[in-house]
């Protein structure tokens, strides 16, 4: 009987289709984190061009802010980078305080730094854990998420919410630290360190993991700068730009920490830079806890910006009026415009705010770090294979809420 298949011929004689294939990936693709569409042009398995299309999570953040009062923006900024909302809260509060010329009390600044660094650890743990999971390493993911939960326990105790805290206020924070804040935080840090050490031991000597990370998704430093890349992605290329070090804000010039940098700019470097940044954040938190005073005001003593005590609101007419005015009309931020930038979880998180002197922002523009990092993702993908998209895209730490606003 004749075989139903053709006789195998010499491979060089086979005619393969020469035309590139166009492949659509996302937005409903598990590796695209739900909100990004990539249109790939493939030559075999190799990516020759990619069109990255964000915007599927666009909610009109900037437009919504233009009809809120200044304090009502805090819940919106929570939902920008929803993995580290405290950093956004603090970043926005610092921007408005810069415009209004407010200097918050010392205790508040230390408190903000501790909460912000906790949020940064949670952010990096999520990114690294998810990156490992997408490459098939599920155990480190669970360990890192477990460590993140310990951090969220601290944040929940302080703010009452695990994810969207809405805890920042202009001129301070919503509440002073709880009684056992310091002990609780200090108890959590060793658990985080342990989780990182264990995950690292599983991953960084794993041949499969290394093969898919090292030398994949390489970004050159000069291109990274010209493309506006910031944060761990930029530092992995060897450029030591960290807003906390380069343009210190709050008390980052008074604490001792290092800025880890990579040298290849590949996925592996981005992963290791984030791991090391978690350790540096833990270092910062330990110093902050040592130096944060136990007593003292948390809010600035200025009735134009800070809500009066609830007890006074219920019992005195002056405080009732002040509270009413602040809620109904909003804080009157002086006319002007500033650009304030902090180091967010993914890089330089900038707020460009314009005030016309009324209780409502005239314009709020957020410079989302992962929007520009995602733009550079195209250069990290071209020339690699389809399978390399998953670790490379994961190492960008694209957060839809922040990227699409």
């Amino acid at each position: 009987m004749e075989p139903w298949y053709e006789e195998e011929t010499d491979e060089s004689a086979l005619e393969l289709p020469a035309e590139p294939m166009r492949l659509n990936m996302g937005p409903s693709h598990p590796a695209m984190h739900g909100t990004i569409r990539m249109v790939l042009d493939l030559d075999g398995e190799v990516i020759i061009d990619v069109d990255i299309q964000p915007g599927f999570l666009h909610r009109g953040f900037e437009k919504s802010c233009e009809r809120a009062t200044w304090n009502q923006v805090f819940p919106y900024v929570d939902r920008l980078n929803y993995v580290s909302p405290m950093l956004n809260n603090v970043g926005f509060a610092l921007a408005v305080e810069k415009l209004a010329g407010i200097q918050v009390p010392e205790r508040c600044t230390w408190y903000r730094m501790i909460l912000g660094e906790l949020a940064r650890i949670a952010d990096h743990l999520t990114c690294n854990g998810a990156m490992a999971m997408e490459l098939g390493a599920f155990t480190p993911f669970l360990w890192m998420i477990k460590a993140r939960d310990y951090i969220w326990d601290v944040l929940e105790q302080e703010t009452g919410a695990r994810l969207t805290h809405s805890f920042g206020r202009i001129g301070g924070m919503a509440k002073p630290p709880t009684e056992h804040f310091k002990e609780h935080t200090l108890a959590v840090l060793p658990q985080v360190e342990e989780a990182i050490a264990e995950s690292e031991a599983l991953l960084l000597r794993n041949r499969i993991f290394l093969d898919r990370m090292q030398g994949v998704g390489v970004l050159k430093p000069d291109r990274a700068l010209a493309l506006g890349v910031t944060g761990p992605v930029l530092r992995s290329t060897g450029i030591d730009y960290d807003v906390r070090k380069t343009y210190p804000y709050m008390f980052y010039d008074q604490v001792d920490f290092d800025v880890p940098v990579g040298h290849d700019g590949d996925n592996y470097d981005r992963f290791v830079v984030r791991l090391e940044e978690i350790r540096q954040s833990i270092r910062i938190i330990r110093q902050c806890i040592e130096r944060m005073p136990d007593k003292g005001p948390i809010n600035v003593d200025d009735p134009r910006f800070v809500f009066p005590e609830k007890e006074a609101v219920y019992n005195t007419i002056e405080a009732t009026i002040a509270h009413f005015k602040l809620v109904m009309e909003g804080i009157k931020v002086p006319k002007g415009e500033v650009y304030s930038y902090t180091e967010g979880g993914n890089g330089e998180l900038g707020f460009y705010i314009v005030s016309d002197g009324s209780g409502t922002p005239y314009r709020i523009h957020v410079r989302p770090p992962c929007f520009l990092n995602l733009q550079a993702c195209r250069e990290m993908l071209i020339g690699y294979t389809v399978a390399d998209i998953i670790p490379t895209f994961g190492s960008i730490n694209m957060i839809g809420g922040e990227c699409d606003r």
Binding site: R22, Q53, P54, G55, H58, G60, E62, K63, S64, E66, R67, K98, L99, G101, D222, R223, L225, A226, L227, G228, V229, I239, Y241, T246, Y247, G336, E337, V338, Y339, E348, G350, Y352, V354, Y362, R363, H365, R367, F371, L372, Q375, A376, D404, R405
Partner: protein, 227 residues
């Protein structure tokens, strides 16, 4: 440091630099639209400025103002010299601005966003499409005259030229939503599954089960099967 950059800009471009300010420590220069691209190139290439790190481009709408309606702002910094400036220019509603993608490729998405949100066009931009919104969106939402409660028309099925897009289930193929063609059945013609579906395109074969099939227990009929 950044003040010296502003001073150098003034020295180089003279009257094209309209005003400078340093409100709250943000060094800013307002330049004419005509020198927008030259200023950007100067900032990048001048060895003293060396603004190699692109940060952002955004815009603000001032519809009540006399003169140009929009402010377009450029934020850049230098990675080696640490200074950081903000450059501003003003454009009328119908005017366009030269694109800075040739100077900093990172400007591509920012300019697309400004076009998307404000409708400001950029000349020589390689790929000026909407970025956060979809192509059929009507209007530019960050303009002050765009009402926040405005709704958008429904977008019809998008035809893409040159792309063979097959709807997953056409009328003649695939799995029908209904297992029974009720129009046929009511006319007394067909009590079976509407066999026409899929048969014409050769995708489905009809298989007869019963009446003498074991699961039909000898006397069942096809109608029972389909109930």
């Amino acid at each position: 440091m950044s003040k010296q950059v502003i001073a150098r800009l003034k020295e180089k471009f003279g009257t094209s630099v309209l005003e400078t300010s340093d409100f709250r420590g943000d060094d800013e220069a307002v330049v004419l639209k005509t020198v927008w691209l030259e200023v950007a190139k100067f900032l990048r290439d001048d060895p003293f400025c060396a603004m190699d790190h692109y940060i952002d481009i955004t815009a603000v709408d001032y519809p009540m103002r006399e003169g140009p309606r929009f402010d377009v702002l450029l934020f850049v910094r230098s990675s080696t010299r640490r200074h950081r400036v903000r450059i501003r220019t003003r454009v009328h509603e119908e005017e366009s601005l030269p694109s800075l993608v040739s100077v900093w490729p990172g400007a591509c998405w920012s300019e697309r966003e400004v076009f998307d949100m404000f409708g400001i066009r950029f000349d020589n931009h390689p790929d000026l499409r909407r970025i956060l919104l979809y192509p059929e969106f009507v209007g530019h939402p960050l303009r002050k005259d765009y009402p926040i409660e405005k709704t958008q028309p429904l977008v019809p099925y998008r035809e893409v030229p040159g792309v063979d897009k097959l709807p997953p289930f056409g009328p003649e193929m695939g799995q029908p939503w209904s297992r029974v063609d009720w129009n046929e059945r009511l006319l007394g013609r067909d009590i079976h599954v509407s066999t026409g579906i899929g048969l014409s395109s050769g995708q489905r074969a009809s298989v007869s089960i019963g009446p003498e099939h074991c699961v039909k227990e000898g006397e069942g009929n096809t109608q029972k099967l389909h109930e």
